[in-house]
Structure formats: structure tokens, C-alpha cells
Symmetry: C2
Subunit: 342 residues, 2 copies
């Protein structure tokens, strides 16, 4: 982390803790505990590994700071956007808590998930609570920004949340469908992954008072960053090296995740499709299956798409023209995120 991202990270953590403290009261102590546990601050395994990198809120603040940098100030003002950045992180975490229940995932970042520890009813409520805290966070900007900008940000956040639930609907419904093609992939990951990242970069630009074409470039940058990231994640989910991803090889195949490579190959209605229709894969088949997806051209096709999305992300970031220290960090971060092996 650079000095600037460290500063921003700390500001985000402070603000998030302040938001959650609204529940730190007599009758709701354990409610506060479960949210604080989920955020990575308390309980077994708490600490930097558990909080995650707070990438999304950092994107909000870096986008804003990069627009407002000028000849006098190498770093543009970003502090006033912290409540919006927190709102995004809280929404991300609300969706993770509900996701974990929906997928019956028992672990997140190596720790027991909220529902595993406190049960499904409290897990649902914990997710709801983080969503409400996100919505409340936005009001803390009043007086610090023109009210039309705040309203635009609030509305964009809610539209993004609607996209999130749309993507989630598709993801869940795909589990029982056998007729899926690549055409079904894009609306799902646009909603589930790209919408929120694109919301981050757009919010930074809106709060910086950028002109419409800059806002659009930042929004598109976030959109393609999200898509590129997800496609790459899907590739790593099948061909990633175990020691680098921390997941067992081709775990996405075992879980029958409707990832891009799987949909590309299913669409061919060839050998992989035939095998897929026969039901669950055995662990001993996985290596052969992932090799089959190389032979039938799926890896090549998916890699091409990942490269296209990466190019689009970087081109849009160039068009957005982020400046100063934050601008440089945005380029570096994008590069690191899209050229990762884990």
C-alpha cells in the first residue's frame, strides 16, 4: 500500500466503525458483535486478513482525488467522500452476508460465515442491517457537497443495488437451468460484480464535480474493470494454481459454477456438454475436464475475452484522465488487479 492508500484505508475503517457503533447498545450488543465480526474487526481470525482490502471504497476516494489533483495539489481532496465510500463497502458486505446464506457457504476469508455462527435468521437480519447502515451513511455528506450531487449519488447507489439483486436472482436461478449460453453470462455478472465497481468510480467523479464525459469515462472504467476482474476470476477458478489462489484446483468445476469458460463450452454442445448433463463431477475427473476445456478452445476464447475487457478498462481509465498521485495509483492498481495469478 502507498502512503495515500494507507491514509484512505484508515479513514474508511474509522468511518465504518463509527457507522456500526449505532448498534453498540444494551439491547443490541450481540447484533453489533455479529456485524463487527463480519467486518473483520473482532472474533476468531480478526485482523487485516479478515477485513479485506476495501478495494471498492478506495476506488471511490482515488477517483475523486485523481480528478481534483492539479498543479498546486498533487492529491485532490477526498476526505469529504468517505461516507459514500463507506456506504459502498457496507453494501458490498450486506450482499456478501446474504450471498453466503444463499450459497450455503460456511467459510469466508478462512473464517466461519455469520450464518454459520449465528444461524440463518440472524444472518439475514445482519445483512439487512448493513444495508440500512449504508443508506444512513450517505446522509452524513449533507452540507459537505451540493445537494444535487448527493441526490445523484444516492440514486445511483440504489439503482446499483437493484442491479445487484437482479444479478443475484439470475445467479440463483441458473443453478437449476440446463439451457444456458454465454448470452446469459453478461447480464448476471454485470449485475453481480461490475455494477458496484462502476458505481464506485462514478460516485468519485460525481462528488468531484467532474463534467459528464469524465463521469461517463470513470463509470465505464469501473464497469470494464469489474467485468475483466470477473472473467479472470472465472479462468483462475479452473486453471489457477492451487498454491496461489488458495482454492483447490478447478473448484469452480466441482461446484458446477456457471462461469464464463463453462458457458462457452456448454454452448458448443460437444464432449463437455455431454458430460455436464450427466450430473456431478467426481474429483478424479477434474483434471481431465479442465484439459478438455483447453483442447476444445475454451481457455483460448475466455482468455481473449479477458484481454478485451482489460483493454477496455485501461482505455476508459486513460480517457478518464486521472491525475496526480491518486491517478498513478489507479493505473497501478488496475494493472495489478488484471494481471494477477491469484
Amino acid at each position: 500500500m502507498t502512503d495515500l492508500t494507507k491514509q484512505m484505508f484508515n479513514a474508511i475503517e474509522n468511518d465504518l466503525q463509527h457507522q456500526l457503533a449505532q448498534l453498540d447498545h444494551k439491547h443490541t450488543q450481540e447484533y453489533f458483535n455479529m456485524l463487527s465480526y463480519h467486518m473483520g474487526w473482532t472474533g476468531d481470525g480478526s485482523g487485516p486478513e479478515a477485513t479485506g482490502k476495501r478495494l471498492r471504497p478506495l476506488l471511490v476516494l482515488l477517483s475523486k482525488a485523481s480528478i481534483l489533483a492539479n498543479e498546486k495539489e498533487e492529491i485532490g481532496e477526498w476526505e469529504s467522500a468517505v461516507p459514500a465510500a463507506s456506504a459502498i463497502e457496507l453494501i458490498h458486505n450486506f450482499s456478501l452476508i446474504h450471498d453466503d446464506i444463499q450459497d450455503r457457504s460456511e467459510k469466508r476469508r478462512g473464517r466461519n460465515t455469520v450464518w454459520t455462527k449465528w444461524g440463518i435468521p440472524q444472518g439475514i437480519n445482519a445483512g439487512d442491517g448493513l444495508f440500512v447502515l449504508a443508506n444512513l451513511s450517505v446522509f452524513k455528506m449533507s452540507g459537505k457537497h451540493p445537494s444535487d450531487r448527493i441526490n445523484r449519488v444516492s440514486e445511483l447507489i440504489q439503482k446499483t443495488c437493484l442491479d445487484l439483486t437482479r444479478g443475484q436472482f439470475m445467479d440463483i436461478s441458473y443453478e437449476t437451468r440446463t439451457d444456458l449460453t454465454v448470452e446469459n453470462y453478461w447480464p448476471m455478472i454485470s449485475g453481480k460484480t461490475a455494477a458496484l465497481i462502476s458505481c464506485c468510480t462514478a460516485i468519485g467523479a460525481i462528488l468531484a464535480g467532474a463534467d459528464e464525459s469524465t463521469i461517463e469515462a470513470f463509470q465505464s472504467y469501473g464497469q470494464y474493470l469489474g467485468l475483466a476482474f470477473q472473467v479472470q476470476d472465472d479462468i483462475l477458478g479452473i486453471w489457477g494454481k492451487e498454491e496461489k489462489t488458495g482454492k483447490s484446483i478447478a473448484s469452480d468445476l466441482i461446484e458446477r459454477k456457471k462461469s464464463l469458460p463453462v458457458l462457452i463450452s456448454l454452448e458448443k454442445k460437444g464432449e463437455f456438454y455431454e458430460r455436464w448433463q450427466k450430473g456431478a463431477f467426481k474429483p478424479e475427473e477434474i483434471r481431465e475436464l479442465s484439459e478438455l476445456l483447453v483442447r476444445d478452445g475454451t481457455l483460448l476464447k475466455a482468455t481473449e475475452i479477458a484481454e478485451q475487457m482489460t483493454d477496455l478498462a485501461i482505455n476508459n481509465l486513460r480517457m478518464a484522465n486521472p491525475r496526480g498521485v491518486a491517478g498513478k495509483i489507479l493505473f497501478d492498481m488496475t494493472d495489478k488487479l488484471l494481471n494477477r495469478e491469484h
Copy 2:
């Protein structure tokens, strides 16, 4: 229903349908279907019985109309508050969908619940979707009201939602607690029931541009209306006549609901407390137990409390001084709600 409430009801239904139509698209058709089913418009058993009375949004509109009534206009303007009324109804329904999952309730208003039909993962997502639609609804008022009033309404709605999740946390956590007293009852039902009703009447007053003391009177009216309603519901849940409540006699006892009468009697640490500690009640014990709660003075105490809350609701409504046709409806409705046998 009077002509005015019929008009209001239709305006609410139209607006709600308009909100949900945002999901009526190719990739999310079934998502739209589940929300539309839950709202009572489509699927098995749809119709007036399934939609419910839309009491909460009516309270928003009636409160506003009653403040703006004057010598020239017997009915004050209420149409501009419809999006806020819809927001409240969507929040109420979001909480019902999640509640039904949390309580594992298979039926609501005689129909299968969303999770029973579409599974828990889609049920959680359907609730989330209604919450987002509620938040989006508020933006539809911009330009129709001064922006400071809209902001105040938005923030009050979110604070109320935080109260809802607080109350829900307590309700769920009480299931496994054996040390509860009446002191634990009030924060739970304040959050679960009274907060949203009090939000309705306060919103009506805020959007009408009422002075602070009037806003406060409307808010308190809603608060006590909610509390009185819940206490009465708790009494009917044990002593209500089966043919009037539509539930089997004393079903709250079978379900071991931590209702006011139960908490009053548990606090006494007498005969009822002893029996409660021994675990689940058998159906054949129920009549004897409900009689025991009469003998030990619980029914009397609970009825006294219901009357106190009812008096406070009516006194606050008088202080709020609602006028014209809508004012009369508010008094009639309050009277009907608090003197019911079902």
C-alpha cells in the same frame, strides 16, 4: 372503505405496480413474478384478501390530507405523497418476506409464502429487492416537495429501518432466552411494530409542512397506535375467539411467542413460569394455561396496558388535530383498529 380511502388505495396500488414494473424484463421475469405474487396481485389466491388493506401507506396519505384540509378544501392535497406511502408499504413487505423465512412460516394470508414457493435463497433476494424499490421510490418525489423535506423523510425512513432490524434481532434472540421480563418487550415491539407506523404518520406531517409540535403529535400518535395494536394482538393471540381471529385458540402459546401476557406471567415466577421452563406445551394443556393466565392476573394487567396505550394514541391524535374528511377517517380507523375482536 370510504370514497377517499378507496381513491387513496387505488393510487397506492397503481404506484406500487409501477415500481415493481422495473423488474418486468426478459432476464428477470420470474423475479418480477415472485414480487408480484407476494404483493397479492398474481398467482394462486391473488386478490383483495391477498393484498391486505395497505394500512400503513393510507396512514401516510390520511395524515397529510388531514393537515392540509381547510375551510375551502375538505380534503387536503395527498397525491404528491404517494411515492413515500409506497416506500413504506414496500419496506413493510420486505420485512414480511424476510420474517417469514426467519420464522419458517409457510403461510401468509392463507397463501404459500415466497420462500415456500421459490426457496430460501430467492426469498432472501426478493426481500432485498423490495427494500431497494422502496429506497428508489422516494426519489420520485423530487421537484414535488422542498428538498429538505424529502431528505428528512428519506432519513427518517432509514432510521426506522434500523429500528426494524433492531427489533427483529431481539425477537429472534428471545427465542432461545429464558430470562426475559416485560422490560425486554417494549424495545422489541417498538422496533418491530411501532417504529414503522409512527414513521407513516410523521412522514405525512413532514410532507404537509406541519410545524414541529404537530409533526411530533402525529409521530407519537403513530407510535402509540402501533404499541396499542400490538398489545391487543398479543391478547387476541391467547384469548381471541377462533372464529373471529381465524387462528386456532391460543396459537401464540403453542408457538411459545414472547408476547406481553407471557412476559407478564413469566416475570411473576409462579405456576406459569414453572410450566414454561419444562418445555413445549401440548395442545390439550392450552385451555388450562390460558385460564391460569386469567387467574394469576395476567389478562387484567395486559388489558390495562392495552387501554393505556389506546388512550395515549387517541390523545396524541387529538393533539395532532387532524382536519376535514381525512381527519374524521383517522379517528374512525383508530377506533376500529383498537376495538377489534380479530
